[in-house]
């Protein structure tokens, strides 16, 4: 009998190799599970003022001020409603870029999300 008919040994090695290769391929091409990053609004400031995140991240803003604020994109790409105290707004960034935003009620409040 040829060695190739000894199916069990060849098979589990091949399966192991194939499995390992498959896993490696999957690991390389698959992005980490989608994450959420937080931005706090405190004392009329966004913190952090510059947030750098990987593509696919959801950014969640929470307003901790008594006064209402918004999260409004400078280009109109997204905008929240008026956020009362402890209300949140979330936006998922699917494209890389620099996203400047401000508060529509207090436009001197400005910050950026950098998506890489």
């Amino acid at each position: 009998m040829s060695r190739y008919s000894r199916t069990p040994i060849w098979s589990w090695r091949a399966a192991l190799a194939f499995g390992g290769l498959a896993t490696a391929l999957l690991a390389a091409g698959h992005a980490p599970a989608s994450t959420t990053r937080d931005v706090g609004i405190n004392g009329f400031k966004y913190a952090p003022p510059v947030l750098t995140v990987p593509t696919g991240t959801t950014v969640r803003w929470t307003n901790h001020d008594e006064e209402s604020h918004t999260v409004t994109s400078a280009t109109g790409a997204f905008t929240s409603a008026g956020l009362s105290n402890e209300e949140t707004f979330a936006e998922t960034f699917t494209r890389p870029g620099r996203y400047q935003y401000f508060c529509a009620l207090h436009p001197h409040m400005r910050a950026t999300v950098v998506v890489k």
Partner: protein, 307 residues
């Protein structure tokens, strides 16, 4: 606040539930808190009107748990004035963040004001969500092209209501825009310089504190066409406190909010709603009298606190 019952709450809020009475007598305009105005103001030929501002219906926070109640207090005090005010000016932020139902609530409460007319100009809270669509649908009628600015005359005094919150982006300050300024120039051109002029708008038309957006970036262009007048009074809101300034014949005055105060410029990290311990409330109650005469005479400002 230690007392949490409604009466204690309303006592504590007494200092915010305030409007201003303006009395015009023989070309001299003076103002005082509604609590101080009296029937003796009804001198022959005079008229009085009231300014209320920043009612922020829809706001609920430590600084005021019931903005509708404090507004109702103001309405009650206005209705107690003798003679009744000829009209009322609302200098904006009637709603807080255009909260659902807030415009309706304000309209309901102000229906109870015993006066012939109420004139409105918007604050940024009234227009920021939709660029003014909801506000102008309600209050655009009768204004220039339905865009919110307006003028009217009353017993020889010329009133100008301006909108400086519709372009409230960019540098973060109030802004009038070229079209409105152009309209204003044409509007006042035929008036004689002895006509008393009153301008009302939400954001201060002078640089109270630009770092907090408490200024109007192009106000100077508008004021340029008003400086020839012998008496100009500018009434603003937005900053939730009384501040005054005089520049020649132009006197600027900002009003208290009927909902909550904000800190004095630069005295806090940010211009948010401010809680005040009851014990300090009376320090913020004050009598404000602004007297000015047409022509080149200087203006006299006298104010004193009640406690």
């Amino acid at each position: 606040m230690d007392r949490i019952d409604r009466r204690g709450f309303l006592d504590c809020m007494a200092w915010v539930g305030t409007g201003l009475v303006w009395v015009a007598t023989g070309g001299v305009l003076s103002s005082r808190l509604i609590t101080e105005a009296s029937a003796s103001d009804a001198a022959a030929g005079s008229f009085n009107f009231v300014q209320i501002s920043d009612t922020h219906i829809g706001f609920k926070g430590e600084a005021n748990k019931d903005a509708a109640a404090t507004l109702q207090q103001v309405v009650d005090r206005v209705n107690a004035l003798r003679p009744a005010p000829a009209f009322v000016l609302h200098t904006g932020d009637q709603t807080h963040g255009q909260k659902a139902g807030a415009f309706d609530t304000v309209a309901e409460i102000l229906k109870g004001v015993k006066t012939e007319r109420i004139f409105y100009v918007p604050g940024e809270h009234d227009v920021f969500l939709d660029g003014g669509k909801e506000y102008l649908a309600r209050y655009g009628k009768g204004t220039v092209e339905g865009r919110g600015w307006q003028s009217f005359d009353y017993k020889g005094t010329h009133f100008l209501g301006l909108v400086n919150v519709l372009k409230y982006k960019g540098e973060g300050m109030g802004s009038l825009g070229d079209e409105q300024i152009g309209w204003l120039e044409q509007n006042v051109a035929p008036l004689s310089s002895s006509t008393p002029v009153v301008v009302f708008a939400h954001v201060p038309l002078w640089a109270v504190y630009p770092q907090w957006g408490w200024t109007t970036e192009d106000a100077e262009h508008a004021l340029a066409s008003l400086r020839r007048f012998g008496s100009v009074t500018v009434l603003n809101g937005h900053i939730h406190q009384v501040l005054r300034k005089v520049e020649g014949n132009v006197s600027f005055h900002t009003a208290m909010s009927t909902a909550f105060p904000q800190p004095a410029p630069g005295s806090a990290p940010a211009p948010g709603p401010m809680k005040i311990p009851e014990a300090e409330a009376r320090r913020l109650l004050g009598v404000t009298e602004v007297a000015y005469v047409p022509g080149t005479q200087p203006l006299t400002v006298v104010d004193s606190t009640l406690g």
